[in-house]
Amino acid sequence: MPAPTIDPATFDALKEATGAEFALELVDTFLQEAPAMLAELRRSLAAQDADNFRRTAHSLKSNGNTFGALALGELARDLELTGAAKVGARGGEPLAALEAEYARVAAALAVLRHG
């Protein structure tokens, strides 16, 4: 069985620790912020701006782990460690994988948000 897009135990722990209402607001903030982060990954990959690429991947990793989006966190960590040069050399394929995972995470979070 593949890992769930959002790990329920992590997400429940977040709600437990911060309050359900706050956790859902935080989801909103993430959904607002994440597209700009993905765009920044694309931009810094194209520009081979290694620092910004690493930093942005690092932020996405941390946010993914916060919400239990463990696969997203893992893909972001992979980008962080691989670096803009090697990701570029692989035709941006690891970034495309992360973008696809983000689409699944965004959909799953939207369900949690309104479910």
Partner: protein
Amino acid sequence: MADLRSGPARLLVVDDNKVNRLLLTRSLELQGHRVATAENGRVALEMMRREPFDLLLLDIEMPEMDGFQVLEQLGRDLQLRDLPVIVTSTLEGVENVVRCIELGAEDYLNKPVNPGLLKARIGASLEKKRLRDQQKEFVRRFATSEVAQDLQDSGFALGGKRVNATVMFTDIRGFTTLAETLPPEETIELLNTYYTLMFDAVSGHGGIVSLIIGDGLMVIFGAPLPLANHCECAVRSALEMIETIELFNLERDAAGKPRIRIGIGIASGEMVAGYAGTNERATYTCIGDTVNLASRLEAHTKVAQRPILIDGVTRAALGETLAVEALGTVPIRGKLVAVDVFSVTVPQPR
């Protein structure tokens, strides 16, 4: 006694990621703390230099100025170096975590931060800070801030090191006679006013008061912290003392009280500076020939009828910056050969 761990503290959260900032702020506010946020290291440093914080929660990966740079800047900042820092990040590689700790971070927490762990670590850091602040306050009361700093940096150890510095002795002329004519309460009051004036003149020129003996003071310029022009600083401090006492005397004249006069002896050169005493009770002081000479010069002001006497080394360091009168060689008790003595000319009040 209040529980040190329970009071609200003022915390600064530094993170470039909005979700992280909101989440950490929420956790801390739920624990009863007051929280401010900054989105990078540069903004954080500006805030810390503007308003006091009890603790910093610092991310490492940030644009403009990252967490490592913040830790480096804090370490160099005398006002901020004691601020506890807890790094919260998802750093790859243990060497980066080690680097945080080596740069002075008190603790490292992996993100997402477990709230229970966060609470415990913050409580421990804040309590340590409060104990440190309390200790520093005690040290400050009985030592100068320079000695307090030296104690903090190097720790306490009896024994000394050789330094090149200037020593000054001051004394109120005829104080014993004066004290006999005054009620003891008035004597204490006079002494306290006198100390306040003298201490201002000392610290204003980078000196530290090493000893207070009755109405006499022993002052060091150039230790424990080096002072570039310690000779001139000491002489300018002496001139300020004379000037201040002159103003004080105008007040005493008006109140119909007797004037006080002071004598000052200054000598420069190599000496051993450090903590002398026992492990239970010690003072920061200097020992050596130079120190004895300064003391003798102070005593000699009575004979020479000049308020400020300095030795040849101090004289040479002054160059032409201040008016000095050579008094020739004077036999000094404890010295095999007579020494050159100079009097610093006190400018006449206009």
